[in-house]
Symmetry: C2
Subunit: 427 residues, 2 copies
């Protein structure tokens, strides 16, 4: 499972050729410029290994088979200059296109780099391949309207009805400083250094235009997202996402995830989606001290196999009517009963969350849980009712604490030559 | 680079056989007990893939080829009962032996699990292989002596002279609550879920005896530790650890890392080592805005190739005497000049650190850097002089802030049947 940086397979730089001038002593500019050139050459001649397409009808990172690691950041725009915002989105688009190809940010012309300027790319992903990096961008309601409902960036008329302010749910302990925000950027990759590199370099390009409001690192996808993936386990030790909408089922995606012309008041959103984020801290210590019986009754599934308590295998349909000695075998307040699509008019989400661990809190308890991410066609129908049911009826809620909440309009995909958000700004 | 959980390759459970009784309705205990049995069977019949040996003269996780991820936790012992501490160390030893084999914690006898008790293992690594997990345990000075120099656990006479309190270094901004502590546990694996699972389950076993003082997650090893590994890059974008002591050079290890009978006042330490930890926050934003010339002069190496500024290739010896137009080509205050072994009587450390990113601080700046870990034969000769030189002379210090510091006596390795720390407690 350990692997060598992919750079090992890349064509070797002729370091000697680059550095012969060093022996003469007057290193300075000569070496620097040459080294810089070498850097670009090396970076850009790498084979395009583990590359996820950036361009398309939809953005990557939604139906892309979930990668192993995530770094998500939400930015607030600190200028009110629309042109400056658009310029940044264009810069970001070019940078994302390069990074998702496993290339360095910046010109491919080696002569363009100056030894007396900061490097265009921070460099820590230089020897790594693209690691299936996807970068997904969305806009929060606050980009369109201030809290006082004043328009920003002349976008008030472009606010989709579906981009609501999420309500307070029972038991929520939301921290404002790690919730909401103007622009979400979700970077996922199979190598954390690649995901972190992407967020860091986008932040850097945004200096003076945006600033990070909050960010989160995640690991270990928490939902099966394609037929080929096995169902992973969350930090409760249970398989998670067994009943997830699969990213390879096109009909269901059109019904539940992708915004179409007939499902939005804003034509620019066609091809987009809505992203719901919730940082759900798990009360790990309490959970770990509860009996296996309690854990399985809370989830409604067998811990080892993921099968519903009504029997069968992991993918067997749960039988909510099967009677046990004291009520249904699958308790009515179990997670699977409260949230199963069959109990919500068939509504489905494309879940794509990650586990997180942020060390320990002041009491020495693990600050860990699920960074929940779901993509839906409309949060009003596809998230709010389910979260309401969960926060009021679900036995699992006792072990959870929601500390962050966000809803973002995920931009439609673009073609080469376009910039992210162009459909909005030029509509 | 994406991979499926190794559980896909394991012998399939006969879920139908396990769950036939479910159809009868009286699920409860029957399913639970069987499922629990199935869990154990599945977990323990997995092929021993990606396993690092736990037993040996030295603990694993030191010369083990550095894995991709780390979760380190430091515990304080909250009992003064020596027998209770020893009992925990024995429990930890058994748990570590199981987890490093990719097995679940707990009895291998399926009948031993009770459906009415918490599971012996939290379960989130159930379908994953061992992922080259290593767990390395060490004791801090505070386990032997209180701050008032009163003995603890009758260990005062067993305190090695080398287990000093690290001094304050120029510029240190150490946070006490993430420094020091009684027992360090470093878990490294190629899958973060496996590393986090290990720390979480050891914490859980320790409930009532120890509590977490601080912990840290790291990713992307920051030093080349074996001949076969390529040199990775740190968050400054530079190759890091080019001049590291390699874990496959036995002579150097005996000279600089392993405690021998002639290098300690405490026979129980033979086969052990000393672990220095420093959480070094990098001033990323400042660094990213500095010119390539400045960056390379600070490091003393070419960013792209890792070669010293005096020329050659990555592994060429730096020539500190080579003159440039304004002083040496490799500046005297460059990182490589200040710390190179050739400038410190040949003293070498086995560095084995990880990058970290803990999100953003209140100002929106990335809280990221290097979690420095080094293993040395004696910190008084192999760390303090180097850190003193670095904190006073190294141009890189301007971009760094040390926020955590620790020194631990790494226990010698053990054989099957022994427990970690036995050489100390029974000497």
């Amino acid at each position: 499972m350990s692997r060598e940086p992919a750079g090992e397979n890349k064509p070797r730089l002729s370091r000697r050729a680059l550095l012969t001038s060093a022996g003469a002593g007057g290193a300075g500019l000569a070496i620097g410029a040459l080294a810089h050139a070498g850097l670009r050459e090396a970076a850009n001649s790498r084979a395009a290994a583990n590359v996820v397409d950036f361009y398309g009808t939809h953005q990557a990172g939604i139906t892309t088979a979930a990668q192993d690691r995530m770094h998500i950041a939400v930015f607030d725009v600190i200028t009110e200059d629309r042109a400056k915002l658009i310029a940044l989105l264009a810069q970001w688009t070019a940078a994302i296109a390069a990074m998702t190809q496993g290339r360095q940010i910046g010109s491919e012309d080696p002569a363009s780099g100056s030894y007396d300027a900061p490097p265009a790319d921070t460099g820590e992903a230089m020897d790594l391949d693209a690691a299936n990096l996807s970068v997904t961008v969305g806009f929060g309601r606050s980009l369109f309207l201030t809290e006082a409902d004043e328009p920003r960036f002349a976008l008030a008329g472009k606010l989709p009805e579906a981009l609501i302010t999420l309500p307070h749910f029972s038991g929520d302990q939301i921290e404002a400083q790690r919730s909401g925000g103007d622009i979400v950027v979700q970077a996922c990759a199979d190598d954390p250094q690649v995901a972190v590199h992407a967020i860091r370099n986008l932040s850097r390009l945004g200096f003076g235009t945006v600033q990070v409001r909050w960010s989160q690192i995640g690991f270990g996808r928490t939902a099966k997202t394609t037929k080929a993936q096995a169902t992973p386990r969350n930090l409760f030790g249970f398989k998670d996402g067994t009943a997830n909408l699969l990213a390879d089922d096109q009909d269901l995606l059109n019904q539940h995830v992708w915004v179409g012309a007939d499902s939005t008041d804003q034509p620019w959103m066609v091809g987009g989606s809505y992203m719901v984020t919730r940082r759900i801290r798990m009360q790990i210590e309490t959970w770990d001290r509860s009996a296996l019986r309690e854990q399985e009754n809370v989830v409604g599934r067998v811990k080892s196999t993921g099968a519903p308590l009504s029997g069968g295998e992991e993918f067997s349909a749960p039988d909510f009517t099967m009677a046990g000695s004291a009520g249904p075998v699958i308790p009515v307040d179990s997670h699977v009963a409260v949230l199963h699509p069959s109990n919500h008019q068939g509504v489905q989400m494309l879940r794509r969350g990650f586990n997180y661990t942020d060390g320990s809190d002041v009491l020495g308890r693990l600050d860990a849980g699920l960074f929940f991410i779901a993509f839906v066609i409309d949060a009003r129908t596809h998230f709010v009712p389910l979260q309401t049911a969960m926060s009021t009826n679900d036995a699992m809620s006792e072990y959870l604490r929601n500390t962050s909440s966000g809803l973002y309009a995920v931009l439609p995909g673009i073609s080469e030559g376009q910039y992210l958000g162009q459909q909005l700004f030029e509509s």
